[in-house]
Structure formats: structure tokens, C-alpha cells
């Protein structure tokens, strides 16, 4: 179990109270090893977004234990969770979520600001991260001066700049055309090849096929925890 990145044991998540209870997740057990590249799929309402929020330490399970890097994070304080998100996790969102008033470089430096990295070091690491995603010529551009694909690459650079253990991507190609989608997926593949654990939520089979493992959610439970991407066509389409 030493190289287990994520270990979920009996996780359930309930929203609301009394008559209007919604069981978003019920009794989920799931493990993801270090260095894996997996996609979480499922129809809308299947619990995959809730799963993503839990894995990303943005939310806490109602019951169950969540070991991230062998640490039970289910009962940590808000501040401790913020620290874990800052240092151990990287987020990539469908809508990029770049701050419009900041340049690409400043956007990428933001997580290091909260990690108390010295300014000189920030500049070095942010530049390196932007070079890694192929944006060495766009360091001083503001988000409005960048294309969607470029913005998403800035967001990826931002997510990896604190050298996280785990990269979480929520529909990262949802707002991009097919050509740019491929570019972004190539970056994820490259990051995974260099050892980063990547977990991605997507509803596009083509996107999921670039990963090595598909976790299929249905009605708040794991329908299939280990589906080979090639077998995707066997499942009913959401």
C-alpha cells in the first residue's frame, strides 16, 4: 500500500436534510496508485463531480475515510485542507479560471504566493512551468490576449508549479475544439509519463481513451473501478 496515492474507504456523501436527502455517493471504495493516469466517467448525477471535489479536498465525505498519500484528510481543518490543496494537489478546470488582471506569469506564480515561496524562486519555477507547456513566448500576456488552448496551458502550468503529487482535471477539454483538445491531452500524457498521477473527469470517450484506466460511476456508486479505455464502447452511452 506504500505507493497508494488515493485510498477511499466506505465514502458516502449526503446533501440536504430530512425528506430531501440526496445521496450523492454511497459506500464508495476506490484506490488509485501513484503514477496512474485515470479518467472518471459517468452520466451527470452519477456522483463523479462530488467524487472529484472530495478527492480535491474541496469537500469532506459524510462518512468514510480518505487517505491521500497515506494521510487521512477527511477530518482535517479548513486551513489544513487549504494547505494540502496548495502543496499536494493541482487543479485544472473546464473554464480555466485565470485571474484576468494578472499576466500568464503572475497567474502561474499565484499558488507559490500562498506556499510562501520566495519571489526569485517563484519567477524561476513559473517560467519553467510555462516553458514546459510551450508558452515561453506568452509570459507577459494577460488571459484576454490568449486563445482558449493557451489559457488552459497557463492553467496547467499553474497546477504543476508547486510540484503536486496529484493533478486533478475537471473536464479540461470541455471548452476547447478538437485540435486544441489533443494538444492539452498531450501535455497530460507527457506529465503522466514523467511520473505525475493524473485524475480527470470527462464525459467524452475520446478524451478518456488517452488515459490508462477508466473509473465508471453510476448512481453514486462505482460501477466499474478498472475499465480499460479500449473497452469503453461496451458500455451504454450516458
Amino acid at each position: 500500500m506504500a505507493n497508494m496515492m488515493i485510498r477511499l474507504e466506505g465514502i458516502s456523501k449526503v446533501y440536504g436534510m430530512g425528506e430531501t436527502l440526496i445521496h450523492a455517493l454511497s459506500g464508495v471504495d476506490l484506490s488509485i496508485k501513484q503514477g496512474e493516469y485515470c479518467a472518471i466517467m459517468g452520466s451527470s448525477g452519477s456522483g463523479k463531480s462530488t467524487m472529484m471535489n472530495l478527492i480535491g479536498c474541496l469537500d469532506r465525505p459524510t462518512t468514510g475515510a480518505y487517505y491521500l498519500d497515506d494521510e487521512n484528510v477527511a477530518e482535517l481543518t479548513n486551513t489544513a485542507l487549504a494547505r494540502i490543496r496548495n502543496l499536494k494537489l493541482g487543479f485544472v478546470f473546464q473554464q480555466f479560471h485565470l485571474l484576468p488582471q494578472l499576466t500568464a506569469l503572475e497567474n502561474v506564480m499565484l499558488p507559490m504566493v500562498y506556499a510562501h515561496v520566495p519571489p526569485a524562486e517563484r519567477l524561476k519555477r513559473a517560467t519553467a512551468a510555462l516553458v514546459r507547456v510551450g508558452l515561453e513566448n506568452r509570459l507577459q500576456n494577460k488571459p484576454t490576449q490568449l486563445s482558449g488552448g493557451q489559457q488552459q496551458r497557463v492553467a496547467i502550468a499553474r497546477s504543476i508549479v508547486n510540484q503536486p503529487l496529484l493533478l486533478l482535471a475537471d473536464e479540461p477539454t470541455g471548452a476547447l475544439d478538437s485540435h486544441t483538445t489533443q494538444e492539452i491531452l498531450d501535455i497530460f500524457t507527457e506529465l503522466n509519463r514523467s511520473g505525475m498521477t493524473v485524475v480527470m473527469v470527462t464525459h467524452e470517450a475520446d478524451v478518456a481513451r488517452t488515459t490508462k484506466r477508466v473509473i465508471w460511476f453510476k448512481d453514486g456508486q462505482v460501477l466499474n473501478p478498472n475499465l480499460a479505455p479500449q473497452e469503453l464502447h461496451q458500455l451504454e452511452r450516458p
Binding site: N53, L58, D59, I84, H97, L110, Y114
Partner: protein, 401 residues
């Protein structure tokens, strides 16, 4: 995130939306401008009245009859006597000079020019007591005083009225039904406490009593007022005490008042101070309104920037950081508004100084205080929006598009 970075970030965010930031701080700008201008003008008014009263003579004391003490229908009301003044001069060690005075409104004419003027009978000590100088000519001496000389010294404005630009020295003027020779003109002084020596004529007190107005009463010559200058500022109280004692002993009862010019000055200062505090307080209300404006816009800004807040939380900003960020934005706004407002306030105070005789001064402490209060207002009115931002659920914040 350290405070300096927070401030830089706040400036960046605020300058990204210049129009809104400007409108947001307008309330604070107006509030500070009016408070500072009011303080400046109030200070100017205070200095102005202080200087005017001070110009009457720094260590001056007045002695006059206590009007309320006289009983109606009990014969002539009691009068101050010239001998009272002489006794004070001889016996009170804290007193430097004594200037007894009789005043009357009389007709003054030179050739065809006729005017009504206050004519004051005085002694040569009047000049040093009142801190006055001559422009031209001379003042009469002790000898002339004793001989009931018919000489007159004119106030600057009266002299101009009677003689225009011609030299008045040596000319004869009529006061009442007597002829007086003009021997000097006083330097212009300006009005203070309703008294303007520039429009008066001055003649020896004995001449006045004996030839113009009958002032013989049992016991000597009655006078209207005694002005006294104490040896120095420190002996004003002692002088007042001694004068009261001497007069009470001489007159048998305390039917007079001794008022120090300094206490008049103090009273006026208190009044002008109270007035300027009141004005500044009224202006301060607009500061409060400005603070509410900041809170309002910060609340809107939190709503608008939920995605930013959500993102910052997702990438690891603790609640404390978000709270700090919004607080610093509010404080930066209000201090910037404060500084602009203070500049405008100082500017208008300076303008008032250019166009009026007032010399407004804005004390440095007021500027520091105004800046501090502005910052405080930003802090107080920033707390609610900042807490709202810090408490946002990152999931909800990120999802809101």
C-alpha cells in the same frame, strides 16, 4: 501572502477598474476634504480672532462698573474715579501702567467737514497699554496733560476723513464747541472686540472732563473705564487680585468688574474651537457615508469575484488570506481616498487664505488623524464583505459562472 504583496495585489485589482474605484472612494474624498477644510478654516478663524484681541494689548486688564449692581432710583449710579486709577498705579506692584478713560460721542469738524466721532479722554500711558504707535506728529506729555492742553491725536481713519491727504499736523479742529490743535495721527490698528481706535479722536482726560463733558462728582472726577497692563503674562492674575483689593478698600464695596483681556481671549478661543469642532463633526458624517459606500461596493465586488475567490481557495489560499486580501483592498481604497480628500481640503483651505484675511492652517496631526480615520473606516466597513468572501464555499464559488 505578506502584507506588501497583498497591497500590490490590491492596487492591481483596484486599478483594473479605475472608474468604479474612483466612484467608490468619492464619499471618502468628499468627507476628508470637508473635514480638513473645516479644521483649516476653523484654525484660521481662531488665529485671526486671537490676533485681533491680542493686538489690544497682551497683558491688558479692564476695570469698569458692574452695571447690574446699581440700584434703580437710588440717585446717581456709582462711578469709577480718576483717583481710583491713581491709587492702582501707586499701590499695585503687579501693575505696570494704568490708563483711565472717558468716552463720549461728539461732533468733530474741520472747515466744512463735519462728522460724529467717539472722543476719548486719555493719558499718555494709553499708547503703551494699548500697544499703539504714532504715524506722524507726537503725543502730548505729562506737562500738557496737567495744563488741560487743547490738543488732539487722531485715529488714522478719522484723520483721513477730515483731512483727506493733506497734512493734519498743526491744524485746528472743532470738537464739541472747543478748538483743538491736531498734534499727531495714530498708526492704523483695525477693529477688535467691537472697538476701533482708528475712527476715534484722543484728547487729554482732564481737558475732556473739565471742558467738554462735565465729570465732577463728589470725591473727584468720574471716569468710564480703566485699562491696566500687568507687568507680564505671569502677573495678570496677581494684578487682577491687587486691583480688586485696592478698589474694594477704596470704594467700600465691590461694585466693579475686573476682566483680563486674556480671559476674553480664552472665551473666544473656546467659542471658535467649539464651532470648528462642530463643523468638522458635521463634515465627519460624510466620512461615515463614504464608508458605507465602500462597504456597498466591496459587497458587490465579492459577489462579482466569487470565481476568483473560489479559484484562490482551490489553489490553496486559506480563509485568513482571502479575508486579508479584501480587507486590504478596502483599506487601500479608503486611504487613497483619504489622501486625495486631504489634498483637496488643504488646497481649499489655502484658497480661503488667498481670498480672505483668515490664515487657515491645517495641523499635521489633523492630516495624520484624517488618514488614520479613513483607514479605520475602510477596515470597519471592509470586515463584512471580507468575511463574506472568506467564508465562501469554493465548490459553489467555482461552479457559479
Amino acid at each position: 501572502m505578506n502584507p506588501l504583496e497583498n497591497i500590490k495585489m490590491a492596487v492591481k485589482t483596484l486599478t483594473a477598474n479605475k472608474l468604479r474605484s474612483t466612484l467608490t472612494v468619492l464619499g471618502i474624498v468628499i468627507g476628508n476634504a470637508s473635514v480638513v477644510a473645516m479644521i483649516g478654516i476653523g484654525q484660521g478663524a481662531q488665529t485671526f480672532t486671537q490676533e485681533r484681541v491680542e493686538s489690544l494689548g497682551a497683558n491688558l486688564l479692564y476695570v469698569f462698573m458692574d452695571g447690574q449692581g446699581s440700584e434703580v432710583g437710588a440717585g446717581d449710579p456709582p462711578q469709577l474715579l480718576l483717583s481710583d486709577a491713581e491709587a492702582i498705579a501707586a499701590q499695585a506692584p503687579a501693575v505696570k501702567l494704568v490708563s483711565p478713560m472717558i468716552s463720549a460721542s461728539l461732533t468733530v469738524n474741520y472747515q466744512s467737514r463735519t462728522t460724529k466721532a467717539t472722543v476719548q479722554g486719555i493719558t499718555p500711558d494709553f499708547l503703551p497699554v494699548r500697544n499703539m504707535q504714532m504715524t506722524t506728529g507726537r503725543f502730548w506729555d505729562e506737562v500738557a496733560q496737567r495744563q488741560d492742553a487743547t490738543v488732539v491725536v487722531l485715529g488714522a481713519e478719522l484723520s483721513q476723513k477730515l483731512f483727506n491727504r493733506t497734512n493734519p499736523i498743526g491744524q485746528e479742529i472743532q470738537i464739541g464747541d472747543r478748538s483743538f490743535q491736531v498734534i499727531g495721527v495714530l498708526q492704523r490698528k483695525g477693529a477688535a472686540l467691537g472697538v476701533n481706535p482708528d475712527v476715534n479722536a484722543f484728547i487729554p482726560i482732564t481737558t475732556m472732563a473739565n471742558q467738554l463733558v462735565g465729570r465732577s462728582v463728589p470725591g473727584g472726577m468720574s471716569i468710564d473705564e480703566i485699562e491696566i497692563s500687568a507687568k507680564d503674562q505671569a502677573s495678570i492674575r496677581a494684578a487682577a487680585f491687587q486691583v480688586t483689593n485696592i478698589l474694594t478698600r477704596l470704594r467700600g464695596k465691590q461694585d466693579f468688574l475686573v476682566v483680563a483681556n486674556k480671559s476674553v481671549q480664552d472665551l473666544l478661543r473656546q467659542i471658535t474651537e467649539a464651532l470648528s469642532i462642530m463643523l468638522a463633526a458635521i463634515a465627519g458624517i460624510s466620512l461615515l457615508v463614504g464608508g458605507i459606500g465602500i462597504m456597498n461596493i466591496m459587497l458587490v465586488s465579492v459577489t462579482e469575484r466569487t470565481q476568483e475567490i473560489g479559484l484562490r481557495k482551490a489553489i490553496g489560499a486559506p480563509e485568513q488570506s482571502i479575508l486579508q486580501q479584501f480587507l486590504i483592498e478596502a483599506v487601500t481604497l479608503s486611504i487613497a481616498g483619504g489622501i486625495i480628500g486631504i489634498s483637496i481640503g488643504v488646497g481649499s483651505a489655502v484658497l480661503v487664505g488667498v481670498f480672505t484675511p483668515l490664515k487657515p492652517t491645517v495641523p499635521f496631526s489633523a492630516i495624520v488623524l484624517a488618514t488614520g480615520v479613513s483607514g479605520g473606516i475602510g477596515l470597519i466597513f471592509g470586515v463584512v464583505p471580507a468575511r463574506q468572501a472568506a467564508k465562501l464555499d469554493p465548490i459553489v464559488a467555482l461552479r457559479r459562472a
